[in-house]
């Protein structure tokens, strides 16, 4: 994990508070004990690690960013109130996210926002431009006309930073449901089953959303690397 958040003069505690997503959190046992005991640093760490994904998830149920922020706030308050009763049947993160979905659903319906999680058929159509493959009358139907170009490695921190910015922009431009599934799977690292249960969608639907999201981000990266020197 590259040291990308360190700035000179920033005390270590602040670094801990700003632990990037994907950093290893303690086990659930340690987290739960910390929350129960009032370990503020651990709570701050959890806030930093999960709130971003929670905002995205909340945003898919409610109508405004401000509303999503309140949902996240209410969720954390409910977590504090309920942590004594947490039994560890699901992971702590799954438990927290379920609380969030319940709060967000209620709020979404109060705002008369219909949530298209289950009502819509998954998006159709190919994720790679069909023009990149040979047509049915060619010698190798469905084969690449030209192979994708290999991407350079991003060895320098500056380039790695640019790539992350390109990826972040690509994620922002995804349809909401794809954004949420991609966030839960590839940023939070939840497994497919947990995501299906949380969102109440089928395994096939989850996979289509995830695949379309990844393919769209890949396509953006391809363009980025195509124009990068």
């Amino acid at each position: 994990m590259p040291l990308r958040l360190r700035e000179s003069g920033v005390p270590l505690t602040v670094l801990l508070y700003r632990r990037p997503v994907g950093a290893v959190l303690p086990t659930d046992d340690v987290l739960v004990a910390g929350l129960r005991a009032g370990d503020e640093e651990m709570f701050a760490c959890l806030l930093n690690s999960w709130s971003g994904s929670m905002l995205r998830l909340a945003r898919s149920f409610v109508s405004t960013t401000a509303s999503a922020e309140e949902v996240v706030q209410d969720t954390w308050l409910a977590v504090l109130q309920g942590i004594e009763r947490f039994e560890g049947r699901a992971s702590l993160q799954t438990w927290v996210y379920r609380i969030l979905v319940n709060i967000a659903r209620k709020r979404g319906s109060r705002e008369h926002r219909t949530v298209p999680w289950t009502s819509l058929a998954p998006d159709q159509g190919p994720t790679v431009d069909p023009a990149r493959f040979h047509g049915p009358d060619d010698q190798y139907p469905g084969g690449w006309r030209a192979f994708p170009e290999r991407w350079p490695s991003t060895e320098t921190e500056v380039l790695a930073h640019e790539v992350r910015a390109a990826v972040a922009k690509a994620i922002e431009n995804l349809p909401t449901r794809q954004q949420v599934v991609l966030t839960l799977r590839d940023i939070d690292g939840q497994d497919a089953g947990a995501v299906c249960t949380l969102l109440g969608i089928s395994a096939a639907n989850q996979r289509v959303l995830l695949h379309r999201a990844r393919a769209a981000v890949r396509s953006e990266l391809e363009q980025y690397f195509g124009v990068a020197p």
Partner: protein, 76 residues
Amino acid sequence: MTCEELVELVTAFLDGALDPEAERRFVEHLAICDGCEIYVEQMRRTIAEVGQVEPESLSTETRDSLLEAFRAFPRD
């Protein structure tokens, strides 16, 4: 399995969700096709890059009020 078909199955493959027959054909194709090998590698790279993205964050006010609530929360 054509290249055009394979690219739509990458996520199912990575999740181990292909049936054994489809998985066999996927792996066989991948073994002999540089284009698809590059494509799958780029999808893996994409997944890794997505995992590196900085999260959105709560507003400072919300964050501070939650930390305050945590501090003030009654504990035995």
